[in-house]
Amino acid sequence: MLFTHPKFALFLIIVFGLYWFASKRSFRLQNVLLLIASYVFYSFWDWRFTFLLLFSTVLDFYTGLKIYNSNEQRHKKAWLAVSICINLGVLVFFKYCNFFLHSFNQSMHLLGYKSDVALLNIILPVGISFYTFHGLSYVLDVYYNKRPPTNNFIQYALFVSFFPLLVAGPIERATHLLPQIEKPRQFNYYKAVDGLRQMLWGFFKKLVIADNCAVYANNIFDNSHYFYGITLVLGAVMFSFQIYCDFSGYADIALGTARLLGFDVVKNFSFPYFSRSVAEFWRRWNISLSTWFRDYLYIPLGGSRVNLGRKITNVFIVFLLSGLWHGANFTFIAWGCLNAFFILPSIIFKTNRHHLDTVAQDKLLPSLKEVAQIVATFTLVTFSWIFFRAPSFDEAIFFIQRIFVKGPVVMPADNRLVLIVLLPLFIFIEWFGRRQNYAIEKFGLQWPRVVRWCFYSFIVFCIGMYKETHITPFIYFQF
């Protein structure tokens, strides 16, 4: 069930009604209801994979308790290893098995041997990377004594499968979400309204900006052999906006839905395209995944307290695995490595902790220097997206080569409105809302209600008038 499908609206109305009205007397009943709703939500994709979700949940719940109750460190370690191995084993099987088999065949071929290991017919369970990381974070938090395990299976199962976050994050931490599940939630009018507003902005980003940019990006990337120069640059830029609005739009809808149900979920995006360096970009893009890798991989590897050579190696390991997390393809590995290269100078010169504030913090417009920094960062990030979007490494290289070939500029789609009006309008609103949690969080709150409602209605109108008529899945569902 996609957030953008009318079925989801119906589903949410039913869940919201039952959650606040039917079960308001007991938060435990609310938890059971949300758990059932989450499994129903997940089963809309493929009910068979609910068993996999349940297995992963039982595994981490059980190992979490075992780790906590073990007296000896080596037993704790062993249970942690069991959890990590099984979790990652399942993930590797479903996500990377064919990638490794294919790579094996190719390597053998390069070495002059004939290898024809058959690929497996495996369906990737939606959201597996997200809920596996949910579970792992819980087990690791218990292991590192960041929190005790919960004895309540329902509460833990809800933490793993909470439907707004289940299929594409943000990746929550047990230390943040579980305490909210463990105590009663109070309905708060302002929080609910804020949730609805954030959902509206998420729908706009996904349905209007992302899906319209996708028309250009798909057309140009799928036919890159016919295009040159500026047209290909346009394709890459359009993909940059597509993936941002697609993924952050999803996150806005997820966060808004969670707020409607009384939960505060971690922010996943913070206006990343206004970053002044690649290091800042990574503090603002897919924050929950970046911090997951930071806390559970980079820091255990030594973080920044090791010598420079080791630090550089750690950065590469993190970005390489982050790339691989996205998908089983060399393009994602290349994308991860490229970002590691881009961030490297800031690690070497120790400037990676610069720009912790918001760009043009107390000003209306950025300085020329800031504009140059933003443009440079956007260019580097967009360059790396080419690898992310291209179907293969060779295609990405070919795409980049063709950028430097002179040729006619072609607009391979009819919906130029998105280029001329909607995208600038979107950037304008994002810029003026960059200090908030999401762009329209406080946009127009000081206006009279009628004017503010006119603004929201205008967003609804833009969705109705400019959304693509077919429903397009969110990009991150494939991960």
């Binding site: 209605s457 109108f461 109705g464 008038m465 400019y466 008529t469």
Partner: protein
């Protein structure tokens, strides 16, 4: 909570009003490419508005012709009139069986046809009905059936077009409005036909495929046949010719022929008429020279049947 629900209801109503106003403003002010999900087709080459407008005064016809653009570009009323048969053509672009059913329900009593030619382009069995839905919502007089069809199609373009069309019918179009009678697709001929002398230039061959049958379209098709049978109106199912290249793009033509033959007398004129390539206006449609050949072939075969039905 009460306050939230009250405000949601209030905002929904407010938003609906603003939305309707903005759709109308967009329809009136914005150029075509800037109102992506608003496809108001009056004044477009399809000429459906003119065709349906003509029906306001049409009564008791001999032959009713139904179908897609193959129908309104394939059956010349002047040729049928030479044989003494008055025809009304209810064909519209990409008319799916949902829309045919709606049109038959609306006009069958008024037109009281003695015979029906139901032209079937098999691709329609897998059509989603949106294109034709937009055409009807734009051009037909709105009533509860059109609104019901809009909800059935459940597509934002059709909803927006319905809003705009309601406004246009209420405040802009009046009885004196006339759609331009000739355009790039041809000239309108009374009786619902569109005449063209342009010649097909040929295009690149496409991949082979098969016609698919969607259950809901088949159901609508069967409902239409049922209506003819209930009213005891004789009918014939026909397939007007396409270019051979287009026709043979689909590899299950024989299976389609067999299926359609189960629903009544059926003639596939792709197999009957021998029409030169220069008698097509495009790969789907005949030009006037082609229509002359096809209609002659059609009448030769069906003359006794139609004579029997129409009593002429």
């Amino acid at each position: 909570m009460k306050r939230l629900l009250q405000n949601i209801l209030l905002f929904t109503f407010f938003c609906l009003v603003v939305y309707i106003v903005l759709v109308i403003v967009a329809g009136r002010v914005l150029p075509a490419g800037w109102k992506t999900n608003l496809n108001y087709t009056v004044d477009e080459p399809k000429l459906t508005y003119t065709r349906l407008k003509e029906l306001d005064t049409a009564k008791n016809t001999d032959i009713l012709i139904l179908g897609t653009s193959h129908a309104y570009m394939g059956y010349d009323p002047r040729i049928f009139l030479q044989h003494g048969w008055k025809t009304v053509n209810l064909g519209t672009s990409a008319q799916s069986f949902f829309q045919t059913e709606l049109l038959v329900k609306r006009y069958i009593k008024q037109l009281n046809p003695k015979f029906v030619i139901f032209d079937i382009y098999p691709g329609i069995f897998s059509n989603n009905g949106i294109e034709s839905g937009l055409d009807l919502v734009s051009s037909a007089k709105l009533n509860k059936d059109i609104v019901a069809m809009t909800f059935k199609l459940n597509n934002i373009k059709v909803y927006n077009t319905l809003i705009y069309s309601a406004y246009m019918q209420q405040f802009v179009l009046d009885t004196t409005y006339a759609e331009p009678q000739a355009n790039r697709d041809g000239a309108y001929i009374k009786g619902g036909y569109v005449e063209s002398y342009s010649t097909y230039k040929g295009t690149m061959p496409a991949d082979k495929g098969i016609y698919k049958i969607h259950a809901d379209q088949l159901k609508a098709f069967e409902n239409i046949i049922k209506m003819f049978n209930e009213r005891k109106i004789p009918y014939v199912l026909a397939q007007a010719p396409m270019t051979p290249a287009k026709y043979f793009e689909m590899t299950n033509n024989d299976a389609i022929d067999t299926m359609l033959a189960n629903y009544g007398r059926y003639y596939n004129f792709n197999k009957i008429s021998n029409i030169p390539i220069n008698c097509f206006r495009d790969e789907h449609h005949l030009n006037q020279n082609g229509v002359n050949i096809f209609n002659d072939d059609f009448i030769k075969i069906l003359d006794p049947t139609i004579q029997k039905a129409c009593g002429k």
